[in-house]
Amino acid sequence: MEYAVIFLPLLGSIVTYFAKSIGTLFSQIFSCSMIFLSAVLSCFIFYEGIINKTYGNYLIFEWINSGNFIVNWSINIDPLSSIMIVIVTSVSALVHIYSVGYMSKDPHKPRFMSYLSLFTFSMLCLVVSDNFLQLFFGWEGVGLCSYLLIGFWFKRETANNAAIKAFLVNRVGDFGLAIGIFLIFLFFGTVNFNEVFLLVPEFTQTNFNFFGGEFNIITLICVFLFIGAMGKSAQFFLHTWLPDAMEGPTPVSALIHAATMVTAGVFLIVKCSPIFEYSQFALNLIAIIGMITAIFAASIALVQNDIKKIIAYSTCSQLGYMFFATGVGAYHIAMFHLFTHAFFKALLFLGAGSVIHAFHDEQDITKMGGVWKKIPYTMILMLIGTLALTGFPFLSGFYSKDAIIEFAYLKNSVTGNYVSSVGILTAFLTAIYSWRLFFKTFFGDYNNKTIPINKTHESPLIMIIPLIILAIGALIAGYIFKELFIGNTSSFWGDSILFLEFIKLENIPLWLILITPVLILIAIPISYYLFIINKNILEGVKNSNLPLYKFLLNKWYIDDIYNYIFIEPLKKLGLFFWKKGDLNTIDRYGPDGISKLIKFISNKAVQFQSGYIYDYAFVMLIGLSALITYLILN
C-alpha cells in the first residue's frame, strides 16, 4: 500500500505523457484516477497510523554505495510524513480534477497532467525519505516540476524567464542544502535521518574551523539546511522567484506554490527538529527571517494589483508565520498551520483561477468588481477562503495562526515577544489586503472596459466541486484536527518531532486571545470603507507617500538590486573571461603566439640565406672575430 501511494502518481505521469496519441480524455481520466487512488490510500495510511501506530520503513533498493557513503531509496512512514502525504495527494487530486475544467481549451493537456503527477511523485519522494539524499532528490525534483510548470506556456517570454528564475534561485538554496548534507556526512559519517539524529547530542560541543572562524558544528549545519529551506519556501532574500512563478497556470500556483512545494522548507526544519533543537542561534535566525518575511510580504501585498501576485505574497507571508513558529520551537503548530494553510490557500488560488476564468484571463483586480451576482458560487467560496486566511474566529486559520502567536508569547524570550507582536501586526495587514482583494474583485463598480459584464460567467461544475471540498476543509479542518495536532495531551507526533522543552498552550492571558480576532474583525469594515465606499482617502495617502508607495509597488526593489549586483556582473565577467582571458591571453600568447613566433624567426632565417658568398664570408668573419676576442679576454 505504501508503495502504491508513491508510485501510482509516477505511473500516472508516465502513461499520461506517452499516451498522448490515445486521446486527451483517456489521459485526463487516467491521471486523475491514479492520483485519486493514491489520495484515498494515503488517507488510509494516515488513519491507520493514528489508530494502530503502523509506522515503518520500507526499503525499495540501494541507490548509492561508495565506501561508507550508503544511501537507499526507501519509504519511511512516520506521523510527520503520513500527514504530509495526505496533504500532498489530496490537494493534488483536487487540483487534477480542477485542471480538467480549467485547462479544457489548452492543446497540451496531457503534458500538463503528466507534469502535475510527476510533481506529486517528487513531492512524495521528498516527504517519505529516510535520508537526506533522497530528500535532496525530491527537493530538486519538485524544483524541476515547478520549472516545467511555470514555463508551461512556453511561448510566453515572461513565463520562460520566470521558470528559469525559479529554478536558479532554488538552486542557490539547494547549494546551501547540499553543503549542509556534506557537513552532516563529514561529521556523522551517514546521511540517514535516524542515525544522524542519534548522533547529534554527542556533537553539541564540537567546533569546526570554517573560513577562519570557530563555529559550532550543529549551528553550522542548521544554518546551511535553513538556506536550503529559504530557497524552497521563498523566505526573505530568496523569495524573488515566487511572485514571478505566478506566470504558470493557476492550478499550478495552487498546488505547488501554495499548498505543497513551498512548504517543503518548513517540512525540512520540522523533520530536522532533533538537530535544530540543539542550536539556539539557528532557531533565532529562523524566527527572525520568518518574521521579516511575514511582514515584508504582507506589506507588498497591500499595493499589488495582480490577483495572483497578491495571493503569492500572502503565501510568502504565511510561510513566514510557519518559519517563525519553528524558530520558537513550535514545530507541531507550524505543521498545523501548514495543514490548514494548504486548504485555504489552495482554495483561494483555485478561486482566483475561477475568477480569472470568468473574466477571460484577466488578472488585474482594478479591472474587476461588481460581479458577485454573476459568479455567486465563486464569491462565496472566495469569501470562505478569505475568512479562513485572515483567521476569522472558528475557521481553520484562526486555530493555527493564533496558536503560533500564543506559543511565541508563552516562550517568554526576547525573540518570542518580538515575533508575537509582529505576528499580530501582520495578521492585521493580512486582513486588510485580503479584504482589499475580495472587495475589489466582487464589489463596487464594474471596471472592466474590454469585456461586458454579461460575458462574465460562472465556472463549470468540475471546477466548483474541488473548490467546495477545499472550502469544507477551510471551514472545519482547524476545529477537527486541533486536538490531534496541537492538543496539550496529544501523543500523535511520537518521535517524529523532538522538543527539548515543551511548552503547553495554557494560562494564556485573555487580552492575547482576544486581540487578533478583534483586529481582524475591525479590518473588515475598515477595508470596505477604504476600498469601496471612499477611495479618495487612499488616493490622498498614496499621493502624500509616493516614495513609500513606489517602494512597496516595486517589491522593495530587491529584484533590481539582485540584477545589479549578481546577474549583470556575472555576465560581464563571463564575457571578459572569454574575450580577454581565452582569446586575448591564452590563445594569443599560447598556440597563436608560438606559431607567429616561429613564422617570424623562420622569415628572418630565410633572409640570412641570401646565396651571395660575401654575405656568408661576412658572417664568418664576425664569428671568427668574436671567437678570438673571447679567447683573448680569457
Binding site: 548509492i64 528559469i164 538552486r171
Partner: protein, 497 residues
C-alpha cells in the same frame, strides 16, 4: 582464459576498417555503414561479455596477455581492472552510436570517415587495455592521427586552424610524457606497469616525472589554461567527431591520472594536490562563466565539458573513495550526456546548417520529440538527481568536502552556474514562440535519430537511479589505488621521522 579476448576487442574494429578499405565500394555507401556498424556492435557485445566475466572482487589485473614485441625491451602487455573495464565498455558503446550518426551527416568520403572512426576505436581501446608504458604511449598518441584527420578533412570552415591547434597542444604535452617514460626505463629498467607498481619509483624522481605526465594529461583533460583547443576542435569537428572527442578522448586523460599519476607517483600526486585543486576550481568557475556567454551551441557544450572535467580532476585528487568513484562516474556520465548533447546539436545542424543560438528559439513548437529528449540531457548535464550527472557530481563534491571544504564549496557554485547556462541555452533554443520559416519548416527527429538518443537517455536515467553496476565494478580497484597511496604516504612519513 586462453582466448586473447582483449586483443580481439582491440583489433576487431581495425579488422572492420581493413575490410571497408579493401572492399572499397565508392558509391554504395550503405555496405560500408553496415560493415562498420556490424563490427562495432559485435565489439560492444564482446565488451559486455568481458564485463560480465570480469571478477569484481579481485583488485589486480585480469585477462593479462603478454607477448614479446621488441625482444628484451618492450613487451606487448595487456590487462584490465575494474577501472579500465568501464572505459572499454563506454568506448565500445559510444562507437556504434557515432557510426549511426554519420549516416545522414557525413556527405563526402563516407568510407574513409568510417575507417578513421574504427581505427580510432582500436587506438582508444588499446589505451585502456595496455599495461606497458610504451604501448600505452603509442596508442595514446596514435589516437591523435585519426582525430586530426576527422577534424581536418570533414570539419567546418576553420578546420585547418583547429586541427593544428588540437595537434600542437596535445603533442606538446605528450613529448614530455615520452621523455618521462624513457627516463623511467633508464632508471628502473622496465616499462611494465605492474613491475613499476611493485618496485616503486624513487621519491626524488617522482615530482619531475609527475609533472611530465601531468602536462600531457592536463592538455587532454583539458584543464585550465590549456583548454582553448577544445572549443575550437568541437566547433569545427563533424558531429561524430565531437561525440568521440567529448565522450571518450577526454576520458583517456582522466584514466591516465588515475592509473599512472596516482598509481606510479603517489607521493608526488599528494604533493601537487593543491595545484590540481586550484586549476580544477578555476576550470569549473571560469569556464562556466565563459559558457554562459557563448553564442555557438557547440562551443557552449565544449566549455561545459571543461567545467565537468574540472569536477573529474578535482575528485581524483581527493584520494578518497567517494572522490575517485565520483570522478569515474562523472566521466562515464559525461561520456553519455555530452555525447547525446552533441548529437542533439548535430540534429539541429543537419537541418539548419547553423549552430548559433540566436538562430533558434521555439524549436519545441515544431520538434516536440526532439525537444523532450534534448531537455532530458540538459537536465542531466546540470546534475539533476535521478540522472547520472547527479551521482558523479555529488560523490565528487562529498569526497572533496572531506579533503578540503573550501574547494568543495567553491566547486559547488559551479553547480549553480551550470544550471544557469544550461537552462538559459535551453530557453533560447527550445522554448519561446517563433515564426521563423527556418524553424517552422523543420521535421522532427526520425526513427534512427530518436532510437540512438533514446538509448542514451535510458542509460542516463537508469544509471542515475541505479548506479550500482558501475560503482560495484570499480569498487575494489579504487580501494586498491587508495590503499597503495596511503601506504606510500605512511612509508614516507616514517622515513622522514
Amino acid at each position: 582464459m586462453d582466448f586473447p579476448i582483449l586483443s580481439a576487442i582491440i583489433f576487431l574494429p581495425f579488422l572492420g576498417a581493413l575490410f571497408i578499405f579493401l572492399s572499397g565500394h565508392k558509391d554504395e555507401n550503405k555496405s560500408a555503414i553496415y560493415i562498420a556498424l556490424f563490427t562495432s556492435i559485435a565489439n560492444f557485445l564482446l565488451t559486455l561479455f568481458l564485463w560480465q566475466s570480469f571478477d569484481k572482487s579481485y583488485s589486480g589485473f585480469q585477462f593479462i596477455e603478454e607477448k614479446n614485441w621488441i625482444s628484451g625491451f618492450i613487451k606487448f602487455k595487456l590487462g584490465i581492472d575494474g577501472i579500465s573495464t568501464l572505459f572499454i565498455v563506454l568506448t565500445a558503446f559510444i562507437t556504434p552510436i557515432c557510426i549511426v550518426s554519420c549516416i545522414n551527416s557525413v556527405k563526402k568520403r563516407l568510407n574513409e570517415f568510417l575507417i578513421a572512426i574504427l581505427i580510432l576505436e582500436t587506438f582508444i581501446l588499446g589505451v585502456f587495455c595496455s599495461l606497458d608504458l610504451i604501448v600505452f604511449y603509442l596508442f595514446f598518441e596514435a589516437g591523435l592521427i585519426p582525430m586530426f584527420l576527422i577534424i581536418g578533412v570533414w570539419g567546418g570552415p576553420r578546420r585547418i586552424y583547429s586541427a593544428y591547434k588540437f595537434f600542437l597542444f596535445t603533442l606538446l604535452g605528450s613529448v614530455l610524457m615520452l621523455a618521462a617514460i624513457i627516463f623511467i626505463y633508464w632508471s628502473i629498467g622496465t616499462t611494465d606497469y605492474t613491475e613499476i607498481y611493485k618496485i616503486k619509483i624513487p621519491q626524488e624522481y617522482q615530482y619531475i616525472l609527475w609533472l611530465a605526465f601531468f602536462s600531457s594529461f592536463a592538455v587532454k583533460t583539458p584543464m585550465w589554461p590549456v583548454h582553448t583547443w577544445l572549443p575550437d576542435a568541437h566547433v569545427e569537428a563533424p558531429t561524430a567527431g565531437s561525440v568521440i572527442l567529448a565522450a571518450i578522448l577526454l576520458k583517456m586523460a582522466g584514466y591516465g591520472f588515475i592509473r599512472f599519476s596516482l598509481g606510479m607517483f603517489p607521493i608526488a600526486s599528494d604533493f601537487f594536490t593543491p595545484l590540481v585543486f586550484t586549476l580544477s576550481i578555476i576550470a569549473i568557475i571560469y569556464t562556466s562563466l565563459v559558457a554562459l556567454m557563448q553564442e555557438d551551441l557547440k562551443k557552449l557544450i565544449a566549455y561545459s565539458s571543461v567545467a565537468h572535467m574540472g569536477f573529474v580532476t578535482l575528485g581524483i585528487f581527493t584520494f578518497n573513495k567517494q572522490g575517485i568513484e565520483g570522478s569515474m562516474f562523472q566521466m562515464i556520465s559525461h561520456g553519455i550526456i555530452s555525447a547525446a548533447l552533441f548529437l542533439c546539436v548535430g540534429v539541429l545542424y543537419d537541418r539548419t546548417s547553423s549552430r548559433m543560438i540566436k538562430n533558434f528559439g521555439g524549436v519545441v513548437n515544431y520538434l516536440p520529440n526532439f525537444s523532450f529528449i534534448f531537455i532530458i540531457f540538459v537536465l542531466g548535464a546540470l546534475g539533476l538527481p535521478g540522472t547520472t550527472g547527479f551521482v558523479g557530481e555529488f560523490l565528487v563534491l562529498i569526497g572533496a568536502f572531506k579533503s578540503n571544504y573550501l574547494v568543495a564549496i567553491l566547486a559547488s557554485t559551479g553547480v549553480v552556474l551550470c544550471a544557469a547556462y544550461m537552462l538559459w541555452m535551453a530557453k533560447r533554443v527550445v522554448f519561446g514562440d517563433t515564426n521563423k520559416t527556418t524553424i517552422s519548416s523543420l521535421k522532427d527527429i526520425n526513427y534512427l535519430e530518436s532510437s540512438v538518443l533514446i538509448i542514451l537517455c535510458l542509460a542516463t536515467i537508469i544509471f542515475g537511479f541505479y548506479p550500482e553496476p558501475l560503482l560495484n565494478t570499480m569498487d575494489v580497484s579504487v580501494t586498491g589505488i587508495i590503499n597503495n597511496h596511503n601506504n606510500e604516504l605512511a612509508i614516507k612519513l616514517t622515513n622522514n621521522n
